[in-house]
Chain length 427, copies 2
């Protein structure tokens, strides 16, 4: 029997019990954090031998004859491009290697579009009355903040287990010329852990857009971040799909090694077909002489090839799997059958979405905070930080130790029950 | 007797002699390069032990408790700030550490001003009819290209041995509200190797500007790059001078370790007073989660402190000094007293300016190119690549070996004589 189905007297008793447990928990003075989507120390230590992958006795000449320590090589060394090309099935020549941050590449790409437009633009985006992006929601707050900062209006569309609600997307982009882009984390999405279906990929690649300069920001942040290499999601190749659909300028593809090596010192990349590439390289050439090629070569020496990257990701998975299994176990044991909440069951990535009864998420966030467990803010995964249904929390189980994670989840479960019963009883 | 003073018959004889020598030189099939302002292999090898300064057995926690391998630390680790602060006499708290490229920080700073304005702006620069920057000329081509790319008009002002012609600068900025900035390489300027006098620094800090949001882009690229630590130029502290003058928002200070460690993988910084700092940090926070802190800590471990940086720069100087001495010797022996050219005699930095008779520089460039010696394009150091007097060539003697440099200079001397005599005889 779910909480909603309980007779009121039983619900009151249950609420009293939960409340008492919560009060006892608060006295423990926990200090735990489920908010941060970043690798834990064990993962970082595991990849730290990369720091010995390039030493002063090494050879510093890239296969194109460039000394990586010196100036030059605007778009990166081919060895590094090749590894990304092999990992994501992209043409090597269409890749630009950046610095340590793919978010920075995305921000700069939109800034360039604002200043100069993109191939197909009638004028620079900043000279148009309004620029809008579709924001599949819940989504990645930093994507949304880029738009909010640069004055791009966000239009929420619903996220589903197969990707953004494509009926909504197509209806919007087909009539509104001011919609210039859509944010996508296509595999193990942040925060749901959903992977776009083949149909979604095809519809994105083929849909009619009123804007002649519409762009898909394809942030494949978790493209090789499976928990189990024998049981993982498959993502259709949108880069080819766009070309085949005759919409090759539409796709801007981003990725990085942030969660393969170091979040703070990885290597980012973007890929795009020729027209976009030509413009990006020209403008990048005014912005910098080149990104850090020493770190690129360090990654190449460490990875050697894409097959080794997959092996490395399996080692990451061995560290991450028990954490996500614990989340599934605790949520099922604690909330299964209560009707308080549902949650996603991703096969990779860094997050789990917890969907509470409508109108409860903010309260859960506050209850956890009071008890000493920090969550990502309720609404944080929605444009402008606002979720009209107030029913979503993003769980990030990768950073804490298993024991801390266990305590944090116990607290979370209790707070969800608390908020849910409170809502049922007191509205 | 200078070439200009020679009787025509003697000039003709001399020209025949030079021409013959040049033709013989061309047959040698040289392939040399004086165009690249970058360190040579010997310098890069000397600093390559930095690659062992941070290994996987090391401690990765910055003094603020941050694991440098992970996310966080938008404005850099304090240890790295402190070294820059000590090197340049800047307040540590006003420094932001960037990625590997100070040019990138400058480009992004102007882009932010275009998009959002700066403290003091009435509106974003892009919403003003015209934005102009003063370009002390000759100057650094990449500075100029940033402006040309972003649609900022460049107004040339004359460079003098004490810095930009301040009478010109003051006259321009005091009346034209659309002039929003000036490019400065204040110590061992690119390409002249001049250092701004105290008076120039004071006038820049104190001058009245019609624009309420005028900015000095102070690119102190060669601030510690003396050839001789006992005989070097001194640069007055403009950061304090601006504050004392009540113009603290005016100064944007840039530097990097590009020519201390690796041009391709150094650490860049910018410093600004509080209003600018607050805005920059806020907008940077949308652009990236943070720059490469592993490379910052690697530099901290390698440098340890500012005193060690000065010792390292003395080692660089030992490699560079003979090259610049050779330039001085070859130019004096080859061109002294001919009236063909004059040149600067810097005490540090990476460049020498060669000033030919008016109308000869382009011809020298072409003659050298034909003979197999690549120079920076004549006009390259001027806005829009155009020097109305056609009298300037930038010499970059740091990259070639001493023996290659010697051959290249012999060729250059001959080509200067050739072009000069040709001009005298044939106009």
């Amino acid at each position: 029997m779910t909480y909603q189905e309980l007779p009121r007297s039983e619900a009151v008793l249950e609420f009293e019990k939960v409340k008492k447990e919560y009060e006892q928990l608060c006295e423990k003075g926990l200090s735990l954090d489920l908010s941060r989507g970043k690798p834990g120390k064990e993962q970082l230590d595991m990849v730290s031998p990369i720091l010995r992958a390039l030493e002063d006795t090494d050879e510093f000449i890239s296969e194109v004859g460039l000394d990586v320590r010196n100036y030059g090589g605007l778009d990166g060394i081919p060895e590094m491009k090749r590894i990304f090309a092999d990992l994501f099935g992209l043409p090597e020549k269409n890749i630009i290697i950046g610095g340590n941050s793919s978010l920075n590449l995305m921000y700069d790409t939109i800034t360039r579009a604002m200043m100069f437009g993109v191939p197909g633009s009638v004028r620079p985006w900043r000279k148009q009355e309004k620029i809008k992006f579709l924001a599949p929601s819940p989504g990645y707050d930093r994507h949304f903040i880029v738009c909010e900062t640069l004055g791009v209006e966000l239009i929420p569309v619903n996220m589903t287990p197969t990707g953004p609600d494509m009926d909504q997307v197509e209806a919007l982009v087909s009539v509104d010329e001011s919609i210039k882009g859509i944010w996508c984390i296509p595999k193990y999405s942040n925060p749901d852990g959903y992977t776009y279906s083949d149909e979604t990929v095809d519809r994105l690649a083929n849909m009619h857009t009123a804007a002649p300069d519409f762009r898909i920001f394809w942030d494949n942040a978790y493209g090789v971040h499976d928990f189990d290499q024998n049981d993982h999601d498959e993502l259709k190749d949108i880069f080819s799909a766009c070309k085949e659909a005759g919409n090759e300028n539409r796709i801007l593809y981003f990725a990085s090694t942030s969660k393969m090596t170091f979040p703070g010192a990885g290597v980012a990349m973007m890929a795009m077909w020729d027209d976009n590439l030509k413009q990006a390289k020209k403008l990048l050439g005014a912005q910098t002489i080149g990104f850090d090629k020493v770190n690129q070569l360090r990654h190449v020496r460490f990875f050697k090839n894409a097959a080794n990257v997959h092996q490395l990701m399996e080692k990451h998975a061995q560290i991450l799997r028990p954490r996500f299994e614990l989340v599934m176990k605790k949520l099922a044991e604690g909330l299964g059958g209560t009707g308080c909440a549902d949650w996603t069951k991703p096969k990779g990535g860094y997050f789990v979405s917890l969907y509470t009864m409508d109108g409860c998420a903010e309260n859960v966030y506050q209850l956890c905070k009071t008890a000493g467990v920090k969550l990502t803010e309720a609404g944080g995964a929605f444009p402008y930080g606002h979720n009209p249904r107030d029913n979503h929390l993003r769980l990030a189980p990768t950073y804490p130790s298993l024991s801390d994670l266990s305590d944090a989840l116990d607290c979370l479960v209790l707070c969800v029950k608390y908020a849910c019963l409170n809502k049922i009883l007191n509205g």
